[in-house]
C-alpha cells in the first residue's frame, strides 16, 4: 500500500506533546550571555549620537554593540535598504536614520537578562525627530519628504498590466461596479516569539540556532552583514513555533551572529541568547500589508466580465522587506480566478513610517481576493444573478489567458472547487436558530487561486540529498533537507515521500534537517511550495540513489536539485509575464448570523473546497485548512491592529486579539479535492495558503445577505458592523 495519502502520525508529535521538543527559547548553552536590543521606539528620526558609556560601566554588562560594530550595515531580502543597527558610524549613508518604531539601535550583552535590560536603559541616544509619514497616499506625492533620501520617491515598486482596451469595454458594458477597498494589518501572532542562541562552533563558524523559514537565506543575510564568506556562517533550525511568513525576514538572526562573533574576536567567546517578549515580537517583525484598492469592473447583462481596472497601493512601512513580491502576487490576483478580456492594473508599494510589512500567509492574495471577490459578488447582486453562476460563467479554464497575457499551467480546477463548495452548502438552514430575534442569517461564496512556488522570474530550486545504507537490502535511508518545518508537518510529509520513492517503510527513513552545515539550499517554507518543491527534489534524489544502489554502490548517495519550469517577470509596460509554474484552487461557502443589536458576527459553518492535487497526509492537509480558516476568520472579523502616527497601539495579545477556540467557526468542513498537478510530486499541489484567501470576501458577502450592507473594509468588529447598520 502506498504511504502517500496516509495520515501517518507526525514525526515531531511525541516530542511536542510531551514537551521534549526544543524550541529556540528552550535551548541554553553553558556559560551563555544574554542579549537585549534597544529599539528606536519612534517612527522617524536621525540619530545624532549614541552614548553607551554608562551601560558599559554597569557591572555584569559584557559588551554593547552599535552601528559602528556592524561590518556591512545593511540587509533586506529583496533590496538591502535597512540598517541592521541604526546609528552613526557606518560607511553606508543614511544608516543613521530610523524609519519605524521597531528599528534596532543597540545591543547589550550581559551576564543576565536583567542586567542586559538595565544596561539597555542606560544607553543615551540623541534623536532628531523627522516628520512622520503615516499615510501611503500622502507618501506617494512627489513633494512628500523621502524616507530613503537616496531614492527619488517613496514609491519603490510600480507594476502595470495593460491587456485589451478597458475604456472601450466599459463603454460596452451593461453594468459597472466600482469600489474603494481597504484592508487591515495582520500580526502573525505565532506561538513562539523570536528567540535564538549563537556561538562559534567547533569549526569556528558563527552559528545561530533560531526559528526561520529558509536556513540558507538567513545564512546569506548574516554573512553579508558580517562581511564573511558563506561557509563561515551556520544556521540551524530546531523546533519552530509557527511562522506564517513572519519569520521570512530577519529579526534576531544577524544581531545574534554579530554578538557571538565580536565576543570571539575580543578573545572572550561565549554563547549568546535572546528571547523576545511578545511586545518586542509585535513591534519588531513585519505585518501583513494594508492595501488601498480602487476597483472598477464592467460586465454584460448575462454576467460575462468585460473589463477590470484596478489600482493597488500597499503600505510597506519603513523598508521593502518582501513588498515587491507581495505586490506582484496581489497585482496578478486582484482580478480573481476569472478570464477577463480587458484588464488594466496599476500597483504601487510605498514607504511610510508605519510598521514594516511583508510576507504573511497568502502573500498579497488575501487583499486582492477581498477586492476581486467582493466586486464579483456585487456584480452578481446588481445583475440579479446567482453568485456561483456568475463565477462559473467567468472562471479560468484550461488554456484561459491570465491578465498578463499567458495561459495558466495545465491542471486548472477552479470550476470544480466552486461547484463542490456550492453543492456541499445546499444542506444549510435558511433561518437562524429560534429564540434569538436579533439574529440575521446570511450565506456567502468566494473563490481564489494562488501560486505555488516563487513567481515572476525569481530563481527557484530545491535540493535534496539521499544516502542509502545497508548490504543486501536498504537498512536505512538518510534524507538531508533544509526545508523548514514551521509546525505544518513538512518533515513528516518529506519522510513519507522519501519512503514512497524508495519503497521503504517510514521507520527506515532518517531525516537530517534544517542545518546549513549538513543540508543544501531548499528555498523557503513559503509560497505554498515546500511539499511541491521538496517532494520533487526528494523524488529525484531517491531515484538517483536507487540507481546507484542497483549499481552496487554502498552507501549509495545522491544529491538532486529540482528546477521547475521557468517564470518571467512583468513586462514594465504591458505586464506580460509567465508568472508561475503551478497553482492551487480553492472555493468557500460560509454561513453566519449577525446580531443586529450588538454587531457581533457568529460564524457558524465554513465549507472549504481545496484542490490540493494529492493529499500526501490528509490529516495535515485538514489541519492546514482548518488553521487557515481560523486565522482568516480572525483577519476578517476580530484582529484589529491599531497604529497612530506610526506608533503601534496594540502591542500585546490582550489588546490585539486573535481567535480563541471558542471563536472558531462551529464547523469547518474540509473538502479535500485531488485533481493532480501534472508536475507536482505524485500530483501534489501546494495548499498552505489557499484556504486563507476566500474567507474574508465570503464573510463580507454573507454579512451583506444578512444585513443588506456591503463592507469595503474590515475587520468586521461589532462596532464597525453596528455603525454601518445604524448610521
Amino acid at each position: 500500500m502506498s504511504i502517500i495519502g496516509q495520515s501517518v502520525p507526525r514525526l515531531d508529535a511525541l516530542g511536542k506533546v510531551t514537551g521534549q521538543a526544543q524550541y529556540p527559547g528552550d535551548i541554553s548553552l553553558p556559560n551563555q550571555a544574554y542579549l537585549k536590543i534597544l529599539f528606536a521606539g519612534r517612527p522617524h528620526a536621525v540619530i545624532r549620537s549614541i552614548d553607551t558609556s554608562q551601560a558599559e560601566a554597569l557591572p555584569g554588562v559584557i559588551a554593547v554593540f552599535t552601528a559602528k560594530d556592524m561590518p556591512v550595515n545593511e540587509y533586506g531580502l529583496i533590496m538591502p535598504d535597512q540598517p541592521v543597527l541604526c546609528g552613526p558610524g557606518s560607511a553606508k549613508p543614511y544608516t543613521d536614520h530610523v524609519r519605524f518604531e521597531g528599528d534596532q539601535v543597540a545591543l547589550v550583552v550581559a551576564e543576565s537578562e536583567e542586567i542586559a535590560t538595565r544596561g539597555r536603559d542606560l544607553i543615551r541616544v540623541v534623536y532628531e525627530d523627522l516628520p512622520i509619514l503615516s499615510d501611503p497616499v500622502q507618501a506617494m506625492q512627489p513633494e512628500s519628504p523621502r524616507l530613503h533620501p537616496e531614492r527619488d520617491s517613496n514609491v519603490f515598486c510600480h507594476y502595470r498590466i495593460r491587456k485589451g482596451d478597458v475604456e472601450a469595454a466599459f463603454a460596452a458594458a451593461d453594468v459597472i461596479i466600482e469600489g474603494e477597498y481597504r484592508t487591515p494589518y495582520q500580526e502573525h501572532a505565532f506561538l513562539q516569539p523570536e528567540a535564538g542562541v549563537s556561538y562559534m562552533d567547533e569549526q569556528g563558524r558563527v552559528t545561530v540556532i533560531v526559528a526561520g523559514q529558509w536556513t540558507h537565506e538567513d545564512q546569506e543575510q548574516i554573512a553579508h552583514a558580517l562581511g564573511l564568506p558563506l561557509e563561515q556562517v551556520r544556521v540551524i533550525y530546531p523546533a519552530i513555533g509557527g511562522a506564517f511568513g513572519g519569520r521570512e525576514d530577519m529579526s534576531v538572526q544577524i544581531v545574534l551572529a554579530l554578538a557571538a562573533w565580536r565576543l570571539a574576536q575580543r578573545g572572550t567567546p561565549r554563547p549568546v541568547k535572546i528571547v523576545w517578549s511578545r511586545e518586542e515580537s509585535i513591534v519588531g517583525h513585519h505585518k501583513r500589508h494594508p492595501y488601498l484598492i480602487r476597483a472598477k469592473w464592467g460586465a454584460r447583462r448575462d454576467g460575462k466580465l468585460l473589463a477590470a481596472q484596478m489600482e493597488l497601493i500597499a503600505d510597506a512601512g519603513g523598508y521593502a522587506y518582501t513588498s515587491t513580491k507581495v505586490l506582484g502576487n496581489a497585482t496578478l490576483m486582484c482580478t480573481g480566478p476569472y478570464e477577463i478580456p480587458n484588464v488594466m492594473v496599476d500597483s504601487y508599494a510605498v514607504y511610510t513610517n508605519n510598521v514594516v510589512t511583508g510576507a504573511f500567509r497568502g502573500f498579497g492574495g488575501p487583499q486582492a481576493a477581498f477586492a476581486a471577490e467582493t466586486q464579483i459578488n456585487r456584480l452578481a447582486q446588481a445583475l440579479g444573478l446567482d453568485p456561483v453562476e456568475i463565477r462559473l460563467k467567468n472562471a479560468l479554464q484550461e488554456g484561459s489567458l491570465l491578465s498578463v497575457g499567458t495561459p495558466l499551467p495545465k491542471g486548472v480546477s477552479i470550476t470544480q472547487v466552486i461547484e463542490q463548495a456550492r453543492a456541499a452548502s445546499l444542506k444549510w438552514a435558511a433561518e437562524p436558530p429560534p429564540g434569538a430575534p436579533s439574529l440575521r442569517r446570511g450565506v456567502g461564496y468566494a473563490a481564489a487561486f494562488k501560486n505555488v512556488g516563487f513567481s515572476f522570474g525569481a530563481p527557484e530550486q530545491c535540493t535534496a540529498a539521499v544516502t542509502l545504507y545497508g548490504g543486501r537490502e536498504i537498512e536505512r535511508a538518510v534524507v538531508a533537507h533544509a526545508g523548514a518545518d514551521c509546525g505544518q508537518g513538512a518533515h513528516t510529509v518529506m519522510a513519507q515521500m522519501a519512503a514512497e520513492a524508495l519503497h521503504l517503510p517510514l521507520e527506515r527513513i532518517e531525516m537530517v534537517v534544517s542545518d546549513t552545515a549538513q543540508t543544501s539550499n531548499s528555498g523557503s517554507a513559503s509560497a505554498s511550495r515546500l511539499t511541491f518543491m521538496a517532494g520533487n527534489s526528494i523524488k529525484g534524489a531517491c531515484e538517483q540513489a536507487l540507481q546507484k544502489w542497483q549499481a552496487e554502490e554502498r552507501p549509495a548517495a545522491a544529491t538532486y536539485q529540482y528546477r521547475p519550469p521557468k517564470t518571467t517577470p512583468y513586462d514594465p509596460q504591458t505586464g506580460r509575464a509567465e508568472p508561475n509554474f503551478a497553482y492551487g484552487y480553492v472555493a468557500q461557502a460560509v454561513l453566519l448570523d449577525v446580531d443586529v443589536e450588538t454587531g457581533r458576527i457568529f460564524l457558524r459553518q465554513v465549507i472549504c473546497a481545496d484542490d490540493v492535487g494529492r493529499a500526501v497526509n490528509p490529516q495535515q492537509v485538514q489541519g492546514q485548512i482548518e488553521g487557515a480558516v481560523v486565522q482568516a476568520s480572525g483577519y476578517a472579523i476580530l484582529e484589529n491592529f491599531i497604529t497612530q502616527d506610526g506608533r503601534i497601539r496594540t502591542d500585546k495579545l490582550s489588546t490585539y486579539l486573535i481567535p480563541t477556540i471558542l471563536d472558531t467557526p462551529e464547523q469547518v468542513e474540509s473538502l479535500i479535492l485531488e485533481y493532480a498537478d501534472p508536475i507536482g510530486p505524485w500530483g501534489a499541489r501546494g495548499m498552505g495558503e489557499m484556504p486563507f484567501l476566500p474567507l474574508t470576501p465570503a464573510i463580507i458577502a454573507a454579512v451583506h445577505e444578512a444585513t443588506g450592507v456591503w463592507f469595503h473594509e474590515f475587520p468586521l468588529t461589532p462596532e464597525r458592523v453596528l455603525r454601518a447598520l445604524k448610521p
Partner: protein, 307 residues
Amino acid sequence: MIRNTHPTLPEFEYIRPQSVGEACDFLTRHAADARPFLGGTDVFVRMRDGVLNPKYLVDVKALPGMQEIRFDPQSGLTIGAAVNMNRVIAAAETREHYPLLADACRSVASYQLRSRATVVGNICNASPAGDTLGACLAFNGVLHIQSSQGVRQELLSNFFRGPGKTTLQTGEIAAALFLPLPHAGSQGVYIKLGRNKLSDLSLVGVTALGYPDPGAPSGYRFRLILASVAPTPLIAKQAEDCLAAQPVTPASIQEAARLASEACAPIDDVRGSARYRKQMVKNLSARALTSVWEKLNRRGQNDISSD
C-alpha cells in the same frame, strides 16, 4: 515604546506569613514596597509589564479562613478571599442560591485562570471591567477586612473609589466576602460583551437581578449594574427605580435601558469607543432585564403549575 522588560517575572521576595497579625505587620512595615496577593492573575501581569515592581509579595492565601466557603441558611454565604473562582462555581450553595455569581465567574478569562483567580481578588483589583463585581454588588455584598486593629466590614457599594482604587488601607487585608441571603424569587443574568468569546476583558458588562417585592409599586425590584462604562462598577439607580415605580413592560424595560445608557460615562480605548459602549449599555441592559423578567414570569408559572 516597548516598556516591558521581562518575558518572565522580575525578581521579588516571596513572603508567606503564618498569621493575620504577622501579615498585617509586614505590610505596614513595608508599606512602600510590599503587596498582598491572592491568585496573582493581575499582580503578576503588571509586574511583568513593569507597572508594579514590589520588593515583597505577601501570599495571604494560607491565612486562617481564607480558603473557606461557608453557607449559613439563616444569613448567607461567606467566601474566603483565597477561594478560587472554579470553587465558587462548583459550590452547591452558589449554584442554588447565587447562580448569578456563578455565571459571572464563568465569564472570567479561562478555566485555567479561574483556578487561580479569586472573587475577592477581583474586587480588590477594582477594575471597572471586573466581571464578578456586579453580581457581588447586586447581592449587597460586604467585605470583611482585617488589620492589626481587628476586623471591619465594608459594604461593597461603598468600597470602590476609582480604577484600582478602594477604601482598603495600607496594612489591611481583605479576608472574605459575605453575601446576604438573596431575596426570595431572585433571578439574575450577566451579559458580557467582549471582543472575543474567551478571555477578553468586557467591553461592556451588564448585571441584572430582579425579585418580587410587594412593597414596590410595580411589585418587583431590579438591580442593574454596569461594568466597563465608568471609573467604578456603575449602579444604574435611575433604571432600577424606573422598574420599581411603574409596571414592568417591554416599554418600561426600554425606558430603564435608556436611563442606564444615559447614566454611564465610558471612555474610548483600543477595545472600543465610548459611543459604542453607550449603545451597548442600552441594548444589553434591555436584553438582560427582559431575560430576568422572563425568568421571573416563568418561575411564577412553574409555581402555579406545581401547586
